[in-house]
Assembly symmetry: C2
């Protein structure tokens, strides 16, 4: 049964002081909820999103008048819903759009109440910590004091981790998937190239392109293409695209359509390079260009800068001179960490750093390294070992909740 999602929004009139020292005077947070909050409000699960996602975590919209990428099912719809690993028949799940995003919460496309102008590049830099603070204020408004769990993949996992340090008493479990305690130099490097592509696009206009009626699409396309390369593993790219020519695939499908047996002739044509530096020659080029084009249609350039910077800046060990064990001392939650063997963006070794630092602090931590071929993207894909692990973990959270209710009833 398809679950219908209802986007909602809440206004926050009090200013939010940011890590940078600046503040946002007033703001809205877009969010969605799935399932029902139980009587003692102990079954709430907050799901944090990664780079280009939103509060639309699960289900589909009943109407169609929403942004392109939101027309489809929520970005973690395979994981969250009735009967799914995070079962909304039992859990009350909240998806929230982060500040600075372009999907509903206050961001660079909105009007700055102080100047009555669109923020653009003047939107203040937001950090993972700022997002978590805003999420906590949303929980206040929803009347949720303690979350059963906070979960997320990639940048979303960083938020789940940060919850355990900023609000150690407000969550019982953190589910951190395909994430890291901070970015490596290489991660930052990829972000920086993407940002330079956007910022040096003549249509960027110092981040105030809205007034000029243009969008720095060239830069956004490049940024997205770079991103896509780092989301996939070398192996899966070879398996999916290899060195196949665009031409050759087109011919193969026309061949099968007409059920032609003259394979030799067809192959000879299909194998011919077109010898061009600018036309699409290989399948992988076609795929990347398509991804870039799609992204440039719906994603905001200033949001891209903000979100990649939030990734760069996240580093809880920083104020402890890089000592992650010291940094995680504050955490009280129980942890489930998951990584994927072929993820070279947030490699298993980065998750293992977290596991070690948590164990150093005698924290309750479960860790699984899943041998999946899909690279970083694996956290969004279906893999039985992965989804059944999440299911088991949430089943155990549910048992905890029920035993507490039983104990209360008995008392």
């Amino acid at each position: 049964m398809t679950m219908i999602a209802h986007p909602q929004s809440l206004h926050f009139a009090a200013p939010l002081l940011l890590q940078s020292g600046k503040s946002i005077r007033a703001y809205d947070l877009a969010y969605e909820t799935y399932g029902l909050l139980n009587a003692d409000k102990s079954n709430a699960v907050l799901v944090c999103h990664a780079l280009n996602a939103s509060h639309h975590v699960a289900g589909v919209y009943a109407h169609d008048d929403v942004k392109i990428q939101e027309k489809s099912a929520g970005w973690w719809d395979n994981m969250i819903g009735p009967g799914k690993p995070v079962d909304t028949n039992h859990f009350f799940v909240i998806g929230v759009n982060n500040l600075g995003s372009c999907f509903g919460s206050t961001g660079p496309m909105h009007v700055n109440p102080d100047t009555q102008k669109v923020y653009g590049a003047d939107f203040p830099v937001v950090t993972v910590e700022d997002w978590v603070n805003a999420q906590a204020l949303l929980m206040d408004k929803l009347g949720i004091e303690t979350l059963a769990a906070v979960m997320g993949g990639s940048l979303g996992g960083m938020q789940a981790l940060s919850w355990t340090l900023q609000y150690p008493d407000r969550l019982r479990h953190a589910v951190v998937v395909a994430s890291a305690p901070n970015l490596t130099a290489e991660n930052i490097a990829f972000n920086e190239v993407a940002r330079r592509a956007i910022v040096t696009d003549p249509d960027f206009h110092e981040g105030h392109f809205y007034q000029h009626g243009v969008i720095p699409k060239r830069g956004l396309r490049i940024a997205r293409m770079i991103g896509h390369i780092t989301y996939l593993s070398d192996d899966v790219m070879n398996a999916k695209f290899g060195r196949q020519l665009k031409q050759s695939l087109a011919l193969e499908s026309s061949k099968s359509a007409v059920n032609d047996n003259s394979d030799a002739n067809f192959d000879a044509n299909a194998d011919a390079y077109s010898y061009s530096t600018q036309e699409v020659e290989f399948q992988i080029e076609s795929y990347l260009r398509h991804q870039g084009d799609k992204f440039a249609e719906y994603f905001d350039a200033n949001t891209y800068l903000l979100i990649t910077r939030a990734l760069d800046y996240f580093d809880p060990a920083r104020k402890f001179s890089g000592n992650l064990t010291k940094a995680l001392e504050l955490a009280k939650a129980k942890f489930l960490l998951i990584s994927f063997t072929t993820d070279w963006r947030f490699s298993p070794s980065r998750s293992r750093e977290l596991v070690k630092a948590l164990l150093d602090n005698n924290r309750d931590v479960s860790y699984a390294e899943i041998d999946a071929p899909h690279g970083h993207d694996a956290f969004l894909l279906d893999d039985h070992r992965y989804t059944s692990l999440i299911r088991s973990y949430f089943d155990s959270i549910l048992s905890e909740i029920r035993s507490k209710v039983t104990m209360k009833a008995a008392a």
Copy 2:
């Protein structure tokens, strides 16, 4: 003792038929030679260059009026010269600039004799095979029938490999360093993003930017930044730059300069993020921007497109339905292959594919996988295990040459 290099050039009046079916009517090849050709012309070594290098392989120029990046020592000066691993006291070494380059040989910046206009984007697509054909014609003019060795790293290694297939009787040894039998989908993907950055730069003008008096520097910068990320290993990037702030390094050096002891104060400042999406925050960003800026000053955009495409297209197994063993049947040379453990651009597994295919054909092949931390860049750096291996191999080539001379003298 510093070796002085003398750039030379030869004109070729006969058209060169290219793999694409097009041809170049007339062209020049820039080259340099080091050492002396022996009496029976058996000590010649051809060195093929990679993406952004040239015929200036070793030594320095006596004068200064040459392009920025050619002011310095040749790109393989640590490897080639008097007393060096490829010892020019014994070998006659030839460096040649490939067609389509921007460093002296005929390329997109030159005038098309057919139209009397600058080629620009109309310069025909050249392949590794085309380059090897042109190199063979240069060898003809230099009176060299058989090369003692052809050597190269990365794209240069592909040329050395192609020599063994196109002119199996004209070389005795192929030294193929940090190379591959073809590019993977991921390799092509990185090339494609770099090309898109250049082609979509408004200053590219469909490749005819010369007439507009502009250079697509934005695109070139992005291309070079992407390149640099893939040349380095994650580990070496972390060791070199880590998450260090630009600010912090500047302060550290000022600190040591004034010999100030108030470390605490300095560190507090040095550790402060500036919270900007566009300013340089991390050292790695500063490094990449600098590399991009430098590159955009001296490298031609059309050349970048041509050379990355030559990389994409190279695939000797292609006409044998991907059967590399079959493809290498033609090779007669003895091989030295070298790869570096942390090279993720041309990983050791790609070199091992070549080793296997050569062994399948009972070819004489030596292979070394060197545990170096520097990624793909390692092939240009000093590593004793690497340089001493090259030295030993060339010593053995020298013994071969000498024993042949002795045999001839005895006969």
